[in-house]
Symmetry: C2
Subunit: 397 residues, 2 copies
């Protein structure tokens, strides 16, 4: 049998490692012949843009460089399948293409939107008695997928965020005057990535002094009081805010194709509030897409796990599974141990897992030690990166 694989949703530093997990495991499997990569997610199947990866990826060197390349080498999409009872057209195109090409399994690497596609597509294939497996491989820097301990891509984003906030802390410490730095962190409605900056506390850092997550109500007066307290104690204060907190004035928020709010700009809003209310030196910093593409400081643990979960999807498919998303189960924190299992993709699709309220402190302006224990293994280890002329080498298909 031949197989197809595609990448979807927002890029991460680990999504190409999951692709390599699928690729390498498929190469090893006697039952699998050709491995096709679909360009721009499921759109590549609809538009007949499938690349034979067996020829496109020609060496161990290629695999190594693909793993250190950020973003999706196959491209991405934000295409949402309609319900097939309402509009079966795209389903029929996919089925016809797969049958014509002898593709017996499809692997989709993505977030909760992509798991919607996995669930719908596998349900459709079952409904028409087509023997094609559809498997989901999780991916998102937001770490907000249900049923998995964490998501591939998250650990590398968290490592970049924590490292950068530590560096910003040093940078901001040079002048002896009252000052506030507000760092805005991605994560949509979930505070995981913002919260993960707490790992600095395990290593003799007071910074970040304050962490605000969308799981709690954000109150501007409390925020200003918190700042006054921290300035009195430390003079220079580093604040981490999740893009998902609500600071008011949300009337002009835009939404994307999936109805997700465009949440950018909360750091700037708070900067202006602090300037007005406290009058001290204040700067907001938006780490922007760097959070999802800074592969030069990827977490080794994340990259290795991303490859393993990709490989596990192939093994599960060969054991007869379909309509599943692979997931991590944490067996132990220290020494850290995970196992890989599978769960119905339908139960993950379009849902969010929020940061646990019991890991947030009473004042709702920081997180507890339990969070540090959870996050630390996910950011551990450094990838060896190949450079040329001083710049990391990337792979382009």
């Amino acid at each position: 049998m031949d197989i197809a694989v595609a990448q979807s949703g927002g890029p991460t530093c680990a999504i190409n490692s999951s692709l390599m997990g699928v690729f390498k495991q498929a190469l090893k499997s006697a039952q699998i012949d050709k491995i096709y990569g679909s360009k721009n997610g499921i759109e590549g199947i609809l538009n007949n843009e499938l690349i034979c990866l067996n020829t496109a990826i020609s060496s161990e060197d290629d695999i190594r460089i693909i793993k250190q390349t950020p973003s999706s080498v196959l491209g991405s999409c934000r295409f949402k399948l309609p319900d097939f009872e309402i509009d079966s057209k795209p389903y029929e195109i996919v089925l016809k293409r797969f049958e014509e090409m002898g593709i017996g399994a499809f692997f989709y690497i993505g977030g909760n939107d992509s798991m919607d596609t996995v669930a719908k597509l596998s349900a459709y294939f079952k409904s028409v008695n087509a023997d094609i497996s559809v498997m989901g491989i999780p991916k998102t820097i937001d770490n907000d997928l249900c049923f998995t301990d964490h998501t591939p891509g998250f650990g590398s984003a968290a490592k970049f965020v924590a490292t950068t906030i530590k560096e910003i802390t040093r940078d901001n410490s040079v002048y002896f005057l009252d000052s506030v730095i507000i760092v805005e962190i991605m994560g949509r409605n979930a505070g995981w990535l913002a919260a993960s900056s707490c790992v600095l506390h395990s290593d003799d850092e007071v910074s970040p002094h304050l962490i605000y997550l969308p799981e709690c109500e954000f109150l501007v007066d409390e925020f200003i009081n918190d700042l006054k307290d921290e300035i009195a104690k430390h003079k220079t204060v580093i604040v981490v805010v999740s893009e998902g907190i609500s600071v008011g004035d949300t009337s002009s928020e835009k939404t994307d194709a999936f109805g997700h709010k465009d949440l950018a700009g909360v750091g700037k809003k708070l900067e202006n509030i602090v300037k007005q209310r406290l009058g001290c030196k204040v700067r907001s910093i938006e780490l922007n897409v760097l959070q999802r593409c800074s592969s030069h400081i990827a977490s080794k643990n994340d990259i290795e796990e991303a490859e393993e979960i990709g490989a596990a999807a192939v093994i599960s498919m060969l054991q007869g599974e379909t309509g599943k998303m692979m997931c991590f189960k944490r067996e132990a924190d220290s020494p850290y141990k995970i196992t890989i299992q599978s769960v119905d993709a339908a139960s993950v699709a379009n849902k969010e897992k929020l940061f646990p309220l019991e890991w947030i402190n009473e004042k709702q302006n920081n997180v507890k030690n339990e969070a540090i224990i959870y996050f630390t293994p996910l950011i551990s280890g450094e990838q060896e990166i190949e450079y040329k002329n001083g710049i990391p080498v990337h792979f382009k298909l």
Copy 2:
């Protein structure tokens, strides 16, 4: 004799390596006894906050970790000495402190404002026949100091900027639609750091497709036409703009203590213009202070040279020099070779060296190959960084 050393101006990734260059060379020199670090630049001398570095830095491990710590471990200041003919008070305090403590030489690591301090202080000491040497060691990510081929700190900033723009390029390539990314780069009135992103062109990257520098007049209509051309050719376009370009609407610009304009925000202005004029997907990214503090991806060449130029300042002082700034002279591009010389600090003070007009293309929207040859050695090599719990280790005094 004892010596004192201080750090001034905006932080870089290499300023602590220059401090270690002074420290290690002074330890080796039989003529030098104690090495004092002045906290917060020259303010530490005025306020009697001097730390004995011989005891504060106790091992080779300390030195190694200081070199991988961004920003100034001694703190910084933006204190500007008055002319001593007008107000000799601060000069008298410094002289008295140095004479009381037996300090026979002072090393100031900083930019063109700090060289003003070096020139004034050495002139004052000469005028009162005090046998105290004052030496300047260059530092700035802006690379805008006269008489030196380049400045310590610049190479690391350039390596971070180029790496990040390459990663952003991958990130932005996943969706097949017209889009513009505008990356705003530091540099004040000089385009060096923005221009340095051209190193990507030597390695099979078309990005950055457009580079705009403050050395040329910025015309919005030309910019929009350039964008249309590049979108037609490449769909996804990466634009690098120096914070120093003038987009109009400059009435509200603030100035700092030295009269420097606050230049932030040009990327956002252009984002809004592109949104209005072209209507395509557009995002502006401000790399902010990350450009000067991302030590985890420092240039090995930069860190090594920063240490060497610090050491050279000690040697020159022992040879009887004062009122000088150490500088690099490039002997060859390939294989790259520099020598270290000295120049009157007064001739560097308060001046800027701009990016050469002859290295800018005719359309003034990119740079020529000569610039790639100049920049490439400066970003070469990677530092081995020590991590603990997944995060780089920093030194705190």
